[in-house]
Subunit: 206 residues, 2 copies
DNA sequence: ACACAGTTTAAACAAGTGTTTAAACTAACG
DNA sequence: CGTTAGTTTAAACACTTGTTTAAACTGTGT
C-alpha cells in the first residue's frame, strides 16, 4: 500500500471519529505509520488532505447516485418519494465494498463537513459535485410537483440534516438501540429506518 | 456587567459560531475585554465554561418547556403531533428576550454539542435535564400510541438531528433563501417551516 | 490607617499545532 | 559504476493552545 493511501485511510477514520479540527496530523501519520512530513509532501496541506479524503468518496459515489436518480426519473412518470430516497440506499451501501466501514465513514465525514471548519467543505462539495444535487431536486420535483421551490429548498435541507446528523452519531445510537431494545442493528438498518421518516417529512402537506 | 457574564456572553457567541474546539480562550477573553486568566479563575477550565454556557440556557428553557409539554398532555386526551412540536416554539422564541439572538445561539450550541468534543455535552445534557426528554416522549406517545418504543427512539433522534443540524447552519440557509427566493425569513420562520416536516416524519406509517 | 478577601493582571509554563528544511535513502536509467 | 528524480526521514521552525503563578489592585469592615 502506498504512503498516500495509508495517509488517506488513517485520516478518513480519524476525521470521521473526531472531526477535522479535532484530529492532528501527528495522530494521522502515527496511525498510518508514516512520517509526519509525508502529509505535506503528498498533499501540500491539511486542508488539501481533507479535500482528498472527501473526493475519494465523492468520485466513487457521485456517478452511481447520478445513474440511480436518472433511472428513477426515466422509468416512471411520477415516482413516489420513497422510491426517490431508496435510490440512495444501494450506492451508499456500495461504499462498504470500496472501503471497510465506507458507508458510515462517508456519512460521518459529510456531517463533520457541515459543522467543522466553518463550512468550507460545504462550499467545496456543492461547487465540485453540483450534478448530484440537481438530479436529486429533479427527482423530488417529479415525485411531488406541487411543492414550491422554496418549500423544496427547506425540506431538502431538513432531510440532509436528518441523514447527516443521524449518521454522524450512528455508532452511539446503534449502541443505545442494542442495549435498550436488545435488537441488533447495522448501518443498513438505520438507513431503512430513516427513509420512511424523510419521505413523510418531504411529503408533508404545505 | 460582571466579568463572569462578559465571559459567558462572548463564549456563547463564539462557541455557536465556530464550535467549542474551534474557539480559543484568548478569542473569548479578548472579545469579552477581560484578562485571559479570568476564565480559569471564574470557571476553573474551558470544559466547565462550556457547561456553564449551556446551563445558563437550559435552566431558562427547561421549566418553560416542561410546563408547556405537561399542559399539552393534560388538556387533551390525544394531542396531534403538530401540537406537541408546536409546544416548543414559544419557549424557544422566549430565549430571544432572555438574550440577543438567544434562540439561534442556543440551537446552534446544541448542534455543536452533539458533534464537537466527542459527545461529552450530550452526556452532560441528558443526565442533567432528563425531565425534558421524558416529558417529550410521553407527549409523543399520547399523540401516536401505536408507535413502538424502538421506532419512537429512532424518530425522536431523527427529529433532534433535523432541528439541530438545521439550526447550526440556519444563518447560511437564511442567506441562501433570501437570495434565491427574495423572501425575508427569520428564525421563527424557519421553526414554522420545520414543524410540519418533523411532525409528518414522526407520524409516518410503520 | 490597617488588614483582609476577592479580583484582576502580566508573564511564564509545558504541550501541541501545521509547516519547512536539508540531509539521507531508494530505485531506475544511461 | 554514477547520476538523477522521487521519496522518506529527523529535526527544527514559529505559533497557538489551556493552564498556572505570583504580584498588584480593589473595596469593605475594623
Amino acid at each position: 500500500m502506498s504512503t498516500k493511501n495509508k495517509i488517506l485511510d488513517a485520516a478518513e477514520k480519524l476525521f470521521a471519529d473526531k472531526g477535522f479540527n479535532g484530529t492532528s496530523l501527528r495522530e494521522i501519520t502515527s496511525l498510518a505509520e508514516v512520517n509526519l512530513a509525508a502529509v505535506n509532501y503528498h498533499f501540500g496541506s491539511k486542508k488539501e488532505l481533507i479535500k482528498a479524503v472527501m473526493s475519494r468518496y465523492m468520485d466513487e459515489l457521485s456517478p452511481r447516485l447520478e445513474s440511480a436518480l436518472v433511472n428513477i426519473c426515466q422509468s416512471t412518470a411520477q415516482p413516489s418519494l420513497t422510491e426517490v430516497f431508496s435510490a440512495f440506499v444501494e450506492p451508499l451501501l456500495a461504499l462498504n465494498d470500496f472501503q471497510e466501514h465506507g458507508t458510515t465513514n462517508f456519512l460521518q465525514l459529510l456531517g463533520r463537513g457541515y459543522t467543522d471548519s466553518q463550512g468550507f467543505l460545504r462550499w467545496f462539495l456543492t461547487t465540485s459535485y453540483p450534478n448530484v444535487i440537481d438530479n436529486f431536486v429533479e427527482a423530488v420535483h417529479k415525485a411531488y410537483p406541487e411543492l414550491s421551490a422554496e418549500d423544496m429548498f427547506w425540506r431538502l435541507h431538513f432531510t440532509m440534516g436528518t441523514i447527516v446528523f443521524t449518521m454522524s452519531s450512528s455508532d452511539a445510537l446503534m449502541d443505545i438501540a442494542r442495549n435498550d431494545f436488545s435488537n441488533d442493528i447495522d448501518i443498513g438498518g438505520v438507513i431503512r429506518q430513516v427513509i420512511p421518516y424523510v419521505a413523510a417529512g418531504v411529503a408533508a402537506p404545505v
